[in-house]
Amino acid sequence: METINIYFFKDMGVMFGRSMRHIFRSLDTIMTVTISPIAIMLLFVFVLGGAIQIGTDNYINYLLPGILLMTIANGIGYVSYRLLLDKQRGIFERFHSMPIARSAGLWGHVLVSLVSNAISVTVIILIAFIMGFRSPAGVLPWLAVIGILGLFTLSMTWIAVIAGLSAKSADSAGAFAFVIHLLPFISSAFVPTNTMPKVVRIFAENQPVTSIVDAMRALLNNQPVGNDIWVALVWCIGIMIVAYIFAMRIYKNRG
């Protein structure tokens, strides 16, 4: 077991390098990931935004946190897809028959998901700036926002790992991302929840996206964050731990 520990980070580094090459050799995936959030952002800001009553005049400031979560929900679909390919092409079997730390293969994909989502999120933020997004927030609130986005990416990535490991085809590997993609619509991401019917509102106010979006919005606008940030952290870390445990169980049972 000792040797495994010594080499774990080295093996993970090799796997990370491999998956990074995959990303930089298929930069079109970043385009695919960002194009629909950009379209939704344009649609909501320039078409629907004028009619949405949110209490401030800068709708894009209101909208951006939800769009960022949608971008990440888009991006993790590729984690499932790449895992599925590794599984189908026998690459996992090759790795598993070698004396390397088994979970290194998974961690490589997870770390790369963090990097590629960071790139997509940066692209979206830049475009939001062009469209008029402004934030009075200083370094610390921005760091907090980055931290929340990172945790959200990790928690969603581990869900994507479960989907990729259990999927039989590329279609089913990506299907779960669709559900995650819908969650921001039934939350405070686009409109305040207080106009929603009671049942929808109860769901919207108690699902993870609302607290995460509200926390980021408060941080970016230099407003008091209140409890939202703690609820958001509990959601992210909770989902991450549960999904990690399930993903590892599925991964190890495969041999």
């Binding site: 080295k10 090799v14 090459r21 050799r25 092409r89 690459i91 079997e93 090759r94 598993h96 028959s97």
Partner: protein, 255 residues
């Protein structure tokens, strides 16, 4: 030293998938430095045996010892002794041939991954294609790279699961030559195949797996004795289609 003479020893191996019995008491031994061919039709259980011996799958009962280590109780040591070329070329299509080899060399924690990669590229006639992405390779090139990747780190025991399935006749003969060369250097080769001539060409010992049990096991000479004694008959030897194909292709290359 039993460990030095017997590379693989399998006794009373059983394996079921749910209610389907795949292996029913399989037993055989493979001598160090020999080529052992397991012959059987599709679904006979060949790949299941390979997966158990390469620690990818757990068996139900019986014992399997590889390089002196029990696959059930000491899988880590087994993995250090073997390498696997699975049924489908387990190569990373987005990486180049050289990058694939370097990746495996790094995962095997070798001192000079680049040098190891260059040597293998040269030996497997892939130097010209070394910096091209594997997705552009032909079936034969992929298989060569796949086998080259299994030779990184010089494992004493190499498993080849149907190494020539799907290859054209020339590529097949190339692979055969590599396998012979490998065994000539003292490596133990465990080979599965559904082609009778492949076993005949290569193997020191052949065992025939049928419906989960080994029905015949011996050298080619021993297997031939199982048939009625040979009679002398004079027949015109017609060239096989393979002979014709190879002759025609060779002629074309000379021109």
């Amino acid at each position: 030293m039993i460990q030095n003479e017997i590379a693989i020893s399998v006794q009373k191996l059983t394996k079921s998938y749910k209610n389907v019995r795949v292996l029913e008491g399989v037993g055989f031994e493979v001598k160090t430095g020999s080529i052992f061919a397991m012959l059987g039709s599709n679904g006979a259980g060949k790949t299941t045996i390979v997966k158990i011996l390469t620690t990818l799958l757990k068996h139900d009962r019986g014992t399997a010892i590889v390089n002196g280590f029990d696959v059930a109780s000491n899988p880590e040591k087994v993995r250090q002794s073997i390498s696997l070329t699975g049924q489908f070329a387990a190569v990373d299509e987005i990486l180049t041939g050289r990058e694939n080899l370097i990746m495996i060399a790094k995962l095997r924690h070798l001192k000079n991954p680049h040098k190891v990669a260059d040597e293998l590229l040269n030996r497997f006639v892939l130097t010209d294609a070394a910096n091209r992405r594997v997705s552009t390779y032909s079936g034969g090139m992929r298989r060569r790279l796949d086998i080259a990747m299994s030779l990184v780190g010089k494992s004493p025991i190499v498993f080849l699961d149907e190494p020539t399935t799907g290859l054209d006749p020339e590529a097949r003969i190339e692979v055969w030559n590599f396998i012979k060369e490998l065994a000539g250097n003292g490596t133990t080769v465990f080979l599965t195949t559904q082609y009778l001539d492949e076993a005949e060409q290569l193997a020191d010992r052949i065992s025939i797996l049928h419906k989960g049990t080994i029905i015949v096991n011996g050298t080619l000479a021993e297997l031939k004795k199982l048939c009625p004694p040979a009679k002398i008959e004079y027949i015109e030897k017609q060239p096989t289609l393979e002979d014709i194909f190879l002759a025609v292709v060779a002629k074309k290359e000379e021109n």
